[in-house]
């Protein structure tokens, strides 16, 4: 029974059911709130584990565990769900990271203290993220994609950073959280409004080939690979989808909401934002834009590659200018997602595999980095790297974990971050047939420079934060090293970072056959 859509539906809707139950729980009953939060995020992980055992890896290109039920009949939108080798790793990552976020929250309630609402929002986010990865209908995808907005808006706006900042362009000051929350909201909505127009345009055109217009992604992929969507129409549609997904990734120059939102968000918010939500954009490219509009993907690919490389270099240079540790990690996401997008833009098996493993690795590593950065600012009450020196001596465990994660983030071979960067550079050496070699090989060179810069700023951060003598201002403070909750949340991530790094087949085993089929169908191998 779990194989016929029930399992996936439970993974998607258990968290939001938990959120409703928590809303009905009395505010004072903290134990019950924690218990519900844990249960309704742990069950999806167990279900995902069951599916890992049941997934047919040989048929990774087929959608599995799915179902296709009627939903909104008058517009022919259906409740069509399922996972293939590309979405399955993302779904597992999403369930695991949500559970770890809940565990971490247990003794890190951000101010203003309101566990009930905070826990409910994490659970709604869980449903939104899981749902986006399993949706196989454009309308369903749109609804889940947008469902992320509200909980994240409240999370940043209520529990975010309260320091005052100058609002760019206006002569007023506002609290960082308020500015960041609305900026995140408006940027994302701007993109997704056009994404919706793109979806509807594809739906309209599908009526010329099918008996009835459809939002069904597999059907549209079939149409797309048979050359149904071409010409100026398709060029504009790809552009509309590009706006929606590129804001989410985010790609330079649409990235400016990201440093603000990540820095202002409470720790758990940053973790989920960086760990999973950014991937909704790059996943959208792989799931929707590329296979449905392959000719247009081919036309747009050089532009995407160039923007991706600008993102890599810009992100790295911006990191080198940061004094705030969390903001540095936020900008590093711009660079890392640049590698993911560079991989996608090559339109090759190697490149898209690189993108998926890059997404998984970035979710694990940057998620962990934000966890550690959050815990440190929780203790030091500052994120200024200049004041944090000597963390290694003050909190040995915390320092060691930070060191490990930063090294993983810079792409050391043997850890998860290596594969995505390395393979996307390999992919851009020989992009898909017909793409301009000059552009992509130049992109490769600049990408390689980007990896060096990444190593540079990560090591520089480690040097400023971990090494050196502790500042005298921490003399009187009792700084508690990483506690049991933190370690419970972090150790699984560290294990996964090593496991994926040493044994990348954990991800490729699922993705490869799906990626091979996608590339063969869309770009003729």
């Amino acid at each position: 029974m779990l194989d016929n859509g029930w399992g996936l539906s439970l993974i998607v809707f258990l968290p939001i059911a938990g959120a409703l139950i928590i809303l009905l729980t009395p505010k004072k009953n903290l134990v019950a709130i924690k218990a519900f939060g844990l249960t309704f995020t742990a069950l999806p992980v167990l279900l995902a584990a069951y599916m890992i055992a049941r997934f047919d890896y040989g048929a990774g290109s087929a959608f599995q565990f799915g179902t296709d039920l009627s939903w909104i009949t008058s517009i022919n939108a259906r409740y069509h769900i399922g996972v293939d080798g590309i979405s399955f790793p993302m779904l597992v990552l999403s369930t695991v990271l949500t559970l770890l976020a809940v565990i971490y929250t247990f003794n890190h309630w951000p101010e203003p203290y309101n566990p009930k609402a905070f826990m409910a929002l994490i659970l709604v986010l869980g449903t939104a993220m899981n749902g986006t990865f399993v949706a196989l209908d454009l309308v369903l995808f749109f609804v889940f994609f947008e469902l992320v907005l509200l909980p994240m808006y409240f999370m940043i706006g209520i529990w975010g950073d309260k320091t005052m900042m100058k609002v760019p362009g206006f002569k007023i000051e506002a609290e960082t959280r308020l500015y960041a929350a609305i900026k995140f909201f408006v940027f994302t909505l701007f993109g997704s409004a056009f994404m919706l127009l793109g979806f509807l345009a594809v739906y309209y055109r599908s009526g010329e080939y099918l008996a009835s217009r459809t939002f069904d992604i597999p059907k549209l992929i079939e149409l797309g690979s048979s050359g149904a969507f071409t010409g100026t129409f398709a060029f504009l549609v790809f552009g509309a989808l590009f706006l929606g997904f590129a804001v989410k990734v985010p790609m330079w120059p649409l990235h400016s909401w990201l440093p603000d939102a990540h820095t202002a968000a409470p720790t758990v918010g940053s973790v989920l934002l960086a760990g999973i939500m950014l991937k909704l954009g790059s996943y959208g490219f792989i799931r929707i834009s590329l296979p449905i509009l392959p000719q247009e993907a081919h036309r747009w690919a050089p532009a995407i590659a160039i923007l991706a490389v600008i993102g890599i270099i810009y992100g790295a240079l911006a990191c080198l200018a940061q004094t705030d540790m969390k903001r540095l990690i936020a900008f590093s996401s711009v660079g890392h997602m640049g590698f993911v997008m560079l991989g996608i833009s090559t339109l090759t098996v190697v490149g898209i595999n690189a993108a998926v493993i890059g997404m998984v690795a970035h979710g694990l590593i940057t998620g962990l980095l934000f966890f550690v950065a959050g815990s440190m600012s929780h203790r030091y009450h500052t994120r200024e790297m200049a004041r944090l020196g000597g963390n290694q001596t003050l909190m040995p465990k915390m320092g060691a974990i930070l060191g490990f994660t930063a090294i993983a983030s810079l792409g050391l071979p043997g850890l998860a971050g290596f594969w995505g960067e390395f393979m996307s550079l390999v992919g851009s050496y020989s992009p898909a047939f017909g793409l301009n070699l000059g552009v992509f090989r130049t992109a490769m060179v600049f990408g390689a420079i980007g990896t060096v810069l990444t190593a540079g700023y990560m090591l520089w951060m480690l040097q400023r934060v971990n090494l050196g003598e502790p500042s005298s201002e921490w003399g009187g403070h009792a700084l508690v090293d990483a506690d049991a909750y933190e370690l419970t949340a972090w150790v699984p991530l560290m294990v996964l970072i090593v496991a994926v790094g040493v044994f990348p087949k954990l991800v490729f085993g699922a993705t490869n056959s799906a990626v091979v089929a996608l590339v063969a169908k869309a770009f003729g191998g």
């Binding site: 909104i72 947008e146 509200l150 706006g157 929350a181 408006v186 909505l189 127009l197 739906y203």
Partner: protein, 493 residues
Amino acid sequence: MIDYLALAPEIIIAATAVVVLLADLWLVRKYWTAIIAVIGTTAAAIPLIVMAVSPVGDRMLFDGSYVVDPFALVMKGLFLMAGYVVLLMSFSYVESDRYYEGEYYFLLLLSILGSLVLASARDLIGLFIGIELVASPMYVLAGFRKGDLKSNEAALKYYLLGVLASALLLYGSSFVFGLTGALTYDGIASAAGGLVHEPAFVMAVLFVLAGIGFKVSAVPFHFWAPDTYEGAPTPITAYLSVSSKAAGFVALLAVTYRAFGPASATWAPVVWVMAALSMTIANLTALRQDNIVRMLAYSSISHAGFMLVPFVVAPYVGAEGLGNAVAATVTYLVIYAFMNLGAFALVIAGSRKARSGTVEGWAGMATYAPGLAFLGAVFFFGLAGIPPLAGWFAKFVMFRVVLTAGSGWAVGLAVIAALNSVVAVYYYARVVKAMWMDPIPVTAPDLEVREAAVPMPLALALGITAAIVLVVGAVPGLVTFFSDATKTLAGGG
């Protein structure tokens, strides 16, 4: 032989209005008038249900001047439900001050009666009677807060511009009758095809559109709306922004798709301009509003613009496309109705607690009224069109119609609508931000005022509308089941 079942809802509402007025003379406890009104409104829904499930098709009365078809049934259902919610909102509001309760409910019922008539009217006389019957009681009710200058201003502005609109509508109608020799919509339609190049006919169409444009408060006929909304008693504002606007749209749908159907190339460009202006100008003005009711007034103007968008595809599509366009506007109307009623019910409840109707005054409401703050997120983000709240589907069907018309003009309007739906988020989010993220202002009233319970009928109104907004967002089929039935309006015959 008159089909009395077809007229039963109108008869019940009219009788209830009379009973309310008489009861007001003898009853000491005036709240009984409200209860009679609620019972009457509920009873009027029964014949609607009987007709909806009966195997008899469209019921034609008075030589086709008055028709009860699926479109009329659905719209009457909406008017009754909206009227019901407005009555619930009125209970505590009317009791809280020295109002004439009996007259209040009498006038409200008359206006509901007008909207029922309008839903069935299929000739120019029925149209005029319906529109006037909706609006005339409102001229009085808008000024019901007698001691308040703003309320007087509200009534006067609404009255002067309302009669101007009626004059335009009548003037246009007289031309239409003179040129086509017909009063019924179907009669006009059969003659209109040959008149599209006749300047007098084009002028007549413009006059009729302008007259109805006032009723739906579309730019540039919107100037009365913000002042009237702000000054009128809040339940009346809710009624004006939902039922009265919906009545205008019912008239517009029937007149454009039915009577002027063959002349769609004449009116569609006009509607295009009205839609684009309404969305853009109202949104930009709403950004600067501090008073929540004024903000909602501009928001309702911009929503009128969104509802006008599907009309513009009429010249480019066939019968199926016309049906989809009608269904899109009706879907939008239904979803908007409940979101906006909820928002106004929230304004009443929130203003009781915060003793203020401004965004700043509502700051920090989440700390003393988390339930209302939650509903604020539901209604305001619903109006903004954010999934999973019902508003997303209203926008979705609207975009679907314009993008499947295969016309560059329609796509251009879709882009304008998309940009506007992003802008709109900012002013809706501003209220939610104040409620959830700002500290309680120093001017806030005492704790006992802030923590006073929401009166039961108001809570019921909030609960009904919130439940609909949340459920329809996840299961939009509940609305399309009804709105799809209205497609026949465009199908001729």
